[in-house]
Amino acid sequence: MNRHESCHDKVLLASYLYNECSDAERRVIEEHLAGCAACASEVEELRSVRSSLSQWKVPERELGFRIVSRQDERPMPVISRRMWTPPWWLQTAAAVLLFATAAGLAQIEVRYGSDGLVVRTGWSKPIAPAPARVSESAPAEAPWRQELAALEQELRSELSAASAARPTAAASRPASQNEEGLLRRVQALIDQSEQKQRRELAMRLTDVVRDVDIQRRADQMRVQQTFGQLEGQTGIAVRDNRELLDYLVRVSQQR
């Protein structure tokens, strides 16, 4: 190969540039490059171009393609779930039954009357709310009355004991004055006791109200959960239908 041929043999130069030439071809080219500054410079610059090309980066991208065969497209769990999905009327009946059971458990009263739909929990129960409140507080009030009566009794016996004992202890003082002071003290004691009892009553009432409130919230949550489950079931059914639709659309597009 003479100089002229080599200068124009780009095919050979390409092979040389990418190390795809035979040893014999390589020797010929290298001999030529040693004597031809233009070609040597050209090869050098082409190497530089190759180095620049290595700078061209492809942006990272999430790909994750998968071929899904048709029998795989609806995996077993979905298919089995679809098979077990009861018709809508059965679902509705089940929902009503479930709701009724939940309502029964939570002591919910559902009534549809002239005043619209009324939902009541067992804790706010009653047909006649006002008397209920009285009866509700009655058991809390009864022990208080008993205790107060017992205290009064105790105080009275103490009083009578005191009135029997004091005159001897304070014989110098006039009896009427002594007794009057004692009565005042006893009255004060009774007042204190009453105040104490009222506080206790108030506390007990607070406890009862709190308990009722906690129970009411628990019931509400239970009811909401029940509704949530019902909604979830509906959601799954909707999703299944959507998947089926997508599948049908894909299949029809493929055809």
């Binding site: 095919v11 390409a14 700078q55 061209w56 942006p59 991208r61 790909l63 393609f65 065969s69």
Partner: protein, 210 residues
């Protein structure tokens, strides 16, 4: 079904044979192996990520459907490249009117090329690198499609000239010539040379993206 580890050890041809017999997972292993190269090829040919992704997806779909027609006469990867390039060609035909690249004006590409980072890149280097990457991309896009494809297959996918010829459906010497011509055009555009100041200039006059 065989374990994933075993599947990974199989050659492309073995996986193809299993796929032909209906083993979808074997084909998915092939997808996993080749989706990045196919995406990269499509991205470099088309210049748009979304289009490249579409081409990539279609390539595997077509390959899967056409497995029966694949007789193993070429490497599976060459066959994939061929499908991908055909799809790219279709995409280019469809989108011919849309300009592909924009290069910011007033940037001296020659300088950028001269500033090429050597080893550990600093933040500045990375910026330069990104710029350079854009300019290489821009220069590549202006090449005739066949030259560009030959360079891409050689530089980024390590195909032999014979494989390039097979994939592009042309004689071996044509594959070499296309590549060499493409490189020569890039040389005028990318290499800063005191001898060719006028040849660097046209690089700045590029169509702008809308």
């Amino acid at each position: 079904m065989e374990s994933a580890a075993l599947q990974m050890a199989w050659t492309d041809d073995e996986l193809v044979a299993r796929s032909v017999q209906g083993d979808t997972e074997s084909f998915n292993e092939l997808v996993l192996r080749w989706e990045r190269p196919i995406y990269a090829l499509a991205y470099r040919v088309l210049g748009r990520e979304d289009d490249a992704r579409d081409v990539c997806q279609d390539t595997f779909l077509r390959a899967f459907r056409g497995l029966g027609a694949f007789k193993g006469q070429a490497k599976f990867s060459s066959w994939l490249y061929r499908i991908a390039l055909n799809l790219c060609r279709d995409a280019i035909r469809r989108e011919r009117r849309t300009p592909l690249v924009a290069v910011s004006e007033g940037v001296d590409v020659g300088e950028l090329a001269a500033q090429q980072p050597s080893s550990a890149p600093s933040a500045e280097d990375l910026v330069v690198q990104a710029e350079l990457s854009r300019h290489v991309a821009a220069a590549m896009r202006r090449l005739p499609e066949e030259q560009r494809t030959a360079i891409i297959l050689k530089e980024y996918h390590d195909l032999t000239f014979q494989e390039i010829a097979d994939v592009m459906g042309c004689p071996l010497s044509t594959a070499k010539t296309r590549l060499y011509q493409g490189l020569s055009v890039l040389r005028r555009e990318l290499i800063p040379g005191e001898r060719r100041p006028a040849e660097v200039a046209p690089f700045r006059k590029v169509e702008k993206q809308p």
